[in-house]
């Protein structure tokens, strides 16, 4: 009986190990990840068809808000530029907006508050699998794009951040114009009726209602309107994208 059981265990573990080892060779090949990655384009196109670009993320009630909004990734940027701003409670903070715009601008939080703002209670879904719900207060990104006169030819908005993930590797992210102009896409300065706390991305972060957490760039320093993000970072459109994650983070 014990013999049979250990035989079974070895047989199952052995078969599984063989499959895993075979898959690992494919994962490390030059073609494997590209072929497997074909699903991303399919996901993006089919999801855009099933859930049109105007579709809104569900908004929750005050009762649904997480008591602690778990901060993930960087929780305290250690760059001198950020530390200087933080020492002064971000009073000197200005968001740089440039790229394909007719009037590049430096916008303070007060400047942003003068544009169209929105408050929304939405769910944050991390790529790791967990979810949290928060009440976000921020300026509509579409209002900022209109304010600076974004070129209609532009295709993406790139978000540059203060936090460095590695030496000289700042966090960055990007969304397409469709997502950027969605009414739930905010440059958020408030969380749960308070100024955005440092662990959650003070003084300004991105909120995209219908994509995973790594899209929600924190510690924004600059937003750049572009036609292509090929020349930024490793050219995949974001820090995590450069590490192999999908640019389309709708699933």
């Amino acid at each position: 009986m014990t013999d049979r059981r250990s035989f079974l265990r070895i047989a199952i573990m052995g078969t599984a190990s063989l499959i895993v080892a075979g898959c690992d060779r494919i994962s490390q090949s030059s073609w494997g990840p590209k072929v497997l990655g074909k699903a991303e384009g399919l996901n993006r196109r089919v999801q855009a068809l099933l859930a049109p670009s105007s579709a809104m993320a569900k908004e929750y009630t005050e009762a649904d808000i997480s008591s602690v909004f778990h901060p993930n990734g960087t929780t305290m940027p250690n760059t001198p530029a950020y530390q200087t701003l933080m020492a002064n409670q971000f009073r000197d903070y200005k968001l740089q907006v440039d790229g394909m715009v007719s009037h590049p601008a430096m916008l303070s939080i007060d400047d942003l508050k003068k544009l169209d703002t929105r408050t929304q209670i939405t769910r944050h879904d991390c790529v790791e699998g967990w979810s949290a719900i928060g009440k976000w207060q921020g300026t509509l990104l579409s209002a900022v794009l209109d304010h600076v006169g974004a070129d209609p030819q532009a295709r993406f908005v790139v978000f540059h951040c203060f936090d460095e993930m590695d030496v000289d590797t700042p966090y960055y992210e990007s969304v397409d114009i469709d997502e950027a102009r969605h009414p739930q896409t905010l440059l958020a300065f408030g969380l749960n009726d308070k100024p955005l706390p440092v662990p959650n991305g003070a003084p300004l972060r991105l909120r995209v209602g219908r994509q995973l957490g790594y899209k929600q760039a924190k510690y924004l320093s600059r937003i750049e309107v572009v036609k292509s993000f090929d020349a930024i970072g490793d050219g995949k459109g974001g820090y995590w994208e450069d590490q192999g994650y999908e640019w389309y983070a709708g699933i």
């Binding site: 699903a39 099933l50 778990h70 709708g250 699933i251």
Partner: protein
């Protein structure tokens, strides 16, 4: 006296069914392995919309004992089990114990690599869905679903008998073995339409973009974290089905069953233990031409 052959081969599974069966084996295996890789990124399950600390339904965790050794634990509700070596803590690809939910021999990739696990998972999710749609379409068109899987009234009447036969590991021989019994029919229908459809819907319910249109479904099952929990449970229900399926294949003549699903031909004992009925022979012949 016409000598009746005591055994004959019947063409049981058509080529498309055989191809789709083996595609499904590959897709389900890789989705399980890559799914466990994804699960390992946050090895806890919750109910509702939020992942609140302290409200885990299940957690694979690790801590150090007084001697400094890593101890893996599995917590289900308030129950805690030590599962070092398999769950919570197990040997990594380099052979040293490491903190990880499921062990490296059960995850694709073997090492912790969420981005690559997602690529495998979503690629084979499409394979699984398209293969499943082809199967349902083909089975409806060829009346496989209606004729072979949908239970007849007499199937329902024989359910008690069928349960007893299964408990006694008694398998039908001869022509009767060509027909799916009531428990097989119910098992296949539940696996296809409850597990299969359910796991895809729960997967979609975890997608933030899809939730813009699927939020009624998400809320109906309790929230996004509930959908994740149900997705996980159905994955293991698939594993349970496969284990029972393999067990039944093993005890009902593994070579004959494998030949059936590879070449299509299944051997039956003609006339053994039942009276030869010319009509039944014809119906089996008809089957061989479909």
């Amino acid at each position: 006296m016409s000598p009746q052959p005591s055994r004959r081969l019947v063409y049981r599974h058509t080529l498309p069914i055989r191809i789709m069966h083996w595609i499904n084996v590959i897709a389900l295996s890789l989705m399980l392995f890559s799914g466990l890789q994804i699960f390992n990124a946050h090895p806890s399950l919750y109910w509702g919309n939020r992942s609140d600390k302290g409200k885990e339904l299940l957690t694979l965790d690790a801590h150090q004992d007084s001697a400094g050794n890593l101890v893996g634990t599995t917590r289900i509700g308030s129950l805690e089990f030590t599962t070092t070596g398999v769950l919570g803590v197990s040997k990594g690809s380099d052979g040293t114990p490491e903190v990880r939910g499921f062990p490296s021999w059960l995850t694709v990739p073997g090492a912790g690599w969420l981005a690559m696990g997602r690529r495998w998972h979503f690629f084979f999710a499409w394979v699984f869905v398209l293969n499943g749609l082809c199967y349902v379409g083909y089975s409806l068109a060829r009346r496989h679903l209606q004729r072979d899987l949908w239970p007849t009234r007499s199937d329902w009447r024989g359910i008690g008998h069928s349960i007893l036969d299964h408990i006694r590991f008694k398998h039908p021989h001869g022509e009767e073995a060509l027909r799916y019994n009531i428990l097989q029919r119910l098992a296949y229908l539940i696996v296809i339409f409850v597990f299969g459809v359910g796991i895809v819907l729960m997967g979609l319910a975890m997608s933030p973009r899809m939730d813009a249109v699927l939020s009624p479904l998400v809320e109906a099952v309790g929230g996004r974290q509930s959908a994740r929990t149900i997705h996980f449970i159905i994955a293991w229900a698939f594993v349970a089905f496969v284990l029972i399926h393999l067990f039944e294949v093993l005890i009902s003549g593994v070579f004959n069953q494998l030949r059936g699903m590879i070449t299509g031909y299944y051997k039956v004992d003609a006339g053994k233990g039942h009276t030869s009925d010319p009509d039944e022979t014809i119906s089996a012949e008809e089957r061989s031409h479909d």
